[in-house]
Amino acid sequence: MKRPAKYYSGLSGWQQYSLFIIGGVILGIVVFLIRISNAASYALDAPETCINCHVMNDAYASWQRGSHGQAAVCNDCHVPQSNFAAKYAFKAKDGMKHSYVFTLRKEPQVLKLSSGAVGVIQENCLVCHNNQFAMIRLADVSERTCWECHTNIHSRVHSLSASGDALRPRLNDAGLDWMKKGFENE
């Protein structure tokens, strides 16, 4: 009945490191692209990084107004915190998938966590909230997630269209100045 909530067991060490390297290489080589897509910010933890893609707007808005807007940033929950390599390997894999899907406009209207993501987040809830007796017991359980009860982490409603654009902060301009001028002239 429930979505399978297997713990994110991590990629094998070999996969982690190669993904990390591939990700790094790609980012390293395509400097031009990095500049225009604000790619440098992807290595950091600022939530604004994520809304480089408007597809993430709703998640951003609901996070900001949810119970953790002041308490945790996206990567505190969405990226494994267990060790440095795992963290960046996950980021690289995720990042590549997202850019691929986004660029090809294949994103679904209603996003759902991938099965790998569920375990990662559940673990992360415990990173911060681990000092409470009953929760440790809950964490033993792979079939139930914290947010089945705590539905206000993002919000009840999940959809690319769920939050108005107004809730999205203005980003730094993307692209190069001359490009912008070019468009303005049209």
Binding site: A39, R105, P108, S161, A162
Partner: protein, 429 residues
Amino acid sequence: ATSIMERRWEAQRPAVVLKPIAEWEPNNAVWGQNYPREYERYLKTQITDTQTRYGGSFPRDYLKEDPRKVILFAGSAFSLDYLQARGHYHALTDVLKTKRIKYPYNAGTCMACKSTDVPRLMSRMGIAEFYAANFHDLKKEINNPIGCQDCHDPQTMSLRITRPALKEAFAVMGRDINQATHQEMRTLVCAQCHVEYYFKPEPANYLVFPWKKGLSVEDMIAYYDEYNFTDYIHTISGSQIVKAQHPDYELYMTGIHAYQNISCADCHMPYRTEGGLKFTDHHIQSPLLNISNSCAVCHRWSEQELLRRVEAIQDKVQKAMLQAEEALVKAHFDIAAAKKAGLTDEELAKSRQLVRHAQFYWDYVSASNGMGFHSPQESTRILGESLNRAQEARLLAARLLAKKGITDEPQYPDLGTVQKALDIIESYK
């Protein structure tokens, strides 16, 4: 990455209006020039080959699926032609070809919910005059099916009520429809048509929603009793029947989604985002044909789980409906047997009144679209009330028959096909 950048601009692109739309513009294609996304999706309501367990856009034949309905509507044109609704695009075609339309005169009121030409004509002719007009005269001026004009203000594109019956019904309940919130409007535009209605005799064929006492089935039948309103005399039992017609809004209002302020549009017109632009999906249809956009926005279950749940709810409603129907059909025949045995109309009055009520309760659910999904518990509750009245009517009839020495159960005819059912009705005329 270039495309990532481009797509970021998408999010900031303003909508541009190309061409002002005339106040009473009935032509959807004209509106469509300005709003191509909405129009393109609207055009999809042409599709008529989708099917779900109880819905979908194909023209399901209610009578063929369940010939007992022919018996229940004996005395009304619904026993001749009764299909399930399909897409808005077909509304005009369908009202023009249904056998329920009478010749040479039929009330203009039958056009009230079928075309974007209606607001224009009403504003020109006057409301009462429109209803009183002959349907066959109006036809000449009516060319467009349901569309933009029915729900939108052409200047601002905001939602607006174009049908006076809804405004008037609100006023009668002491409410001002202009105070409706934006979220309520996302339901009320539908409630212009997806509601129970009747034609008041005075002014002639005036369209009225029977909400004066309230929206519940109890309130409505009490209203009809007070006004002594009847749609038809039942050919077999002689009961005075009120046909319920799609009380979708009313039944929905008793459900959990209405309680939580979820509108018709939330499910039947979910938002879509294409290229960073957010718009409303104007392909109005069964949400079960679009679960991932429609329900999954709020319910993080799998599509399979959602579908299974809806069907389980609907199966229960159908079972309860058929149970009430069975008793109701028999009640008509029981009363007919009593009549034949020589019992007077006076003696039969109480059973007939019970059957009138039983059938209205049954029809409140049966004529509602969605097989009870809009309010699962209320649907089965109402069907229980219907059943009780039908069975009470049968008990009275049995005791009356006994008074005439008839102690056996009447023989109930075979109702296997529509034709058989029609023949039976004929034999009672």
